[in-house]
């Protein structure tokens, strides 16, 4: 994959798609029929960011299993990188969700299932980094982190399901098992933004993995000269 597409090309493709998605959202997609008006346009970023965050955590889950099976450091690095990016995307989900909530319902925060899930996910994956920071030995740190990443990812859908026991919130349900609930003109903008956001995640993971590799090499070199 490293040779197939260069990192700048990925960033450029993501940028083009995200800008196109945004332009389509405003110029092509119809205004929302409900009272939300323009504020609904944030949906074209908010939902793709949410899905990308979950994708990043999914990657960390797979990386954690692969690490436990192989004890190969590269999977640990992938775990760290994808969780860090997933966390950033989760914070963006909450930020965009709060902005939308304020515009549409007049409140910054509503304890509804999805927002609450992302709030808990933020705590959960912040704890991942706290855990890493208190284990000195490298292999042990990676092993514990992998165990925690597996448990944490299993907990995400469980949390989402549990928050349904709370009194219902105001969040619209767009994508259900019955279909997307979106007309084609809306879906296209949404789909392009989603592909753009996914590419952005892949590009960021690629870049961060490179940085982590270099960091490890510097640490090894320092160690080898007794530093």
């Amino acid at each position: 994959m490293k040779k197939l597409v260069s990192a700048p090309a990925l960033f450029a493709a993501a940028g083009v798609l995200l800008v196109t998605g945004l332009l389509l959202a405003f110029l092509y997609s119809p205004m929302d029929a409900s009272t939300m008006g323009y504020s609904q346009k944030i949906f074209y970023y908010h939902a793709p960011i949410a899905e990308t965050a979950l994708l990043a955590f999914g990657i960390s889950f797979v990386a954690a299993i692969l690490y436990l099976r192989s004890q190969n450091d590269k999977w640990d690095r992938l775990g760290v990188v994808s969780i860090r990016l997933g966390l950033v995307f989760s914070i963006l989900v909450m930020a965009t969700g709060m902005i939308w909530g304020k515009a549409a319902w007049g409140t910054w925060w509503d304890w509804e299932p999805r927002l609450t899930t992302f709030l808990l996910v933020c705590f959960l994956y912040t704890a991942y980094f706290v855990l890493r920071s208190v284990v000195e030995e490298e292999q042990r740190r990676a092993t514990f982190a992998a165990v925690f990443a597996i448990i944490a990812f299993i907990d995400v859908p469980i949390t989402f399901f549990a928050t349904r026991f709370l009194p219902a919130g105001m969040h619209p349900t767009v994508i259900t098992t019955g279909g997307t609930g979106m007309p084609g003109s809306m879906f296209m903008s949404f789909f392009i933004s989603m592909i753009g956001m996914t590419l952005l995640l892949v590009a960021l993971i690629r870049r961060d993995l490179g940085i982590e590799e270099l960091r490890d090499r510097v640490a090894d070199l320092k160690h080898s000269i007794g530093g």
Binding site: L68, L120, F123, L124, A127, V130, L131, V134, V135, E136, R140, T143, F144, A146, V147, F148, I150, I151, A152, I154, D155, I158, T159, F161, A162, T163, F165, L166
Partner: protein, 228 residues
């Protein structure tokens, strides 16, 4: 020695150790009673306020924090006295250690619940729920298994780190929130309005699913969590 006998041996060791000192159980029970007094002053802001609706939440918050105390204590002893090294040197499957430790913690949690539930009920619940007692016990047991399984796995990880008891709440609490939500919702329904197995069906199934999922997850990862 078969797995079952190993399990019983480790469990018996933990129980005997606790019965000799009683430091964990006594501090957990004291903590629960103190929490009750604190909740009374925190929520009883008006003379005639009915706390029935809040009692489920108070109980589960108390149990989870009491469990944190207990988990830290039980593993600190293992680590400080190097008892765990001895245990790991024995030809015992790591998973057997996990199940025995979980069972031990479950027994301690049940003991504090036997004290806490009547006291909380006496002070806060203004409605008899005698007819739902079986249902309530089922909720308690299902939630307890989840708390102890997840707690034991995470306490094993945290005791092997630099900050030990500081780390445990940070990794344990966000993971246990879904269970807390379901258990609180079920308990509150029982206390406030009364319920049946049919009414609480989804919540009970959820708790059962939570227990099963994390038991399996712990089964698969405990070897790595306990270290060499």
């Amino acid at each position: 020695m078969t797995g079952w006998r190993q399990f019983m041996a480790i469990l018996r060791k933990d129980l005997i150790r606790e019965l000799r000192t009683r430091e964990m159980i006594i501090s957990m029970i004291l903590f629960v009673l103190l929490a009750m007094v604190i909740f009374h002053y925190a929520f009883g802001v008006k003379e005639d306020v009915d706390l029935t609706y809040f009692t489920g939440g108070m109980l589960w918050v108390t149990f989870i924090f009491a469990m944190l105390l207990g988990l830290n204590r039980s593993f600190a002893q293992e680590k400080d006295e190097r008892c765990l090294d001895g245990l790991l040197l024995c030809p015992v499957d790591r998973v057997t250690i996990f199940f025995a430790k979980t069972a031990g913690n479950l027994i301690f949690l049940l003991i504090i619940q036997v004290v806490a539930v009547p006291v909380f009920t006496l002070f806060f619940v203004h409605r008899g729920y005698g007819s739902d007692i079986v249902l309530f016990v089922v909720v308690l047991l299902l939630a307890d298994v989840g708390i102890c399984a997840l707690g034991t796995l995470l306490a094993t990880i945290s005791m092997n780190t630099r900050s030990r008891d500081l780390l445990l709440p940070i990794i344990f609490l966000p993971l246990i929130v879904p269970l807390l939500i379901a258990a609180t919702a079920a308990t509150t329904t029982i206390f406030a309005t009364g319920a049946s197995f049919g009414v609480l069906g989804t919540r009970l199934l959820f708790l059962l699913g939570f227990d099963a999922v994390f038991m399996v997850a712990a089964y698969g990862t405990y070897d790595f969590a306990i270290g060499e």
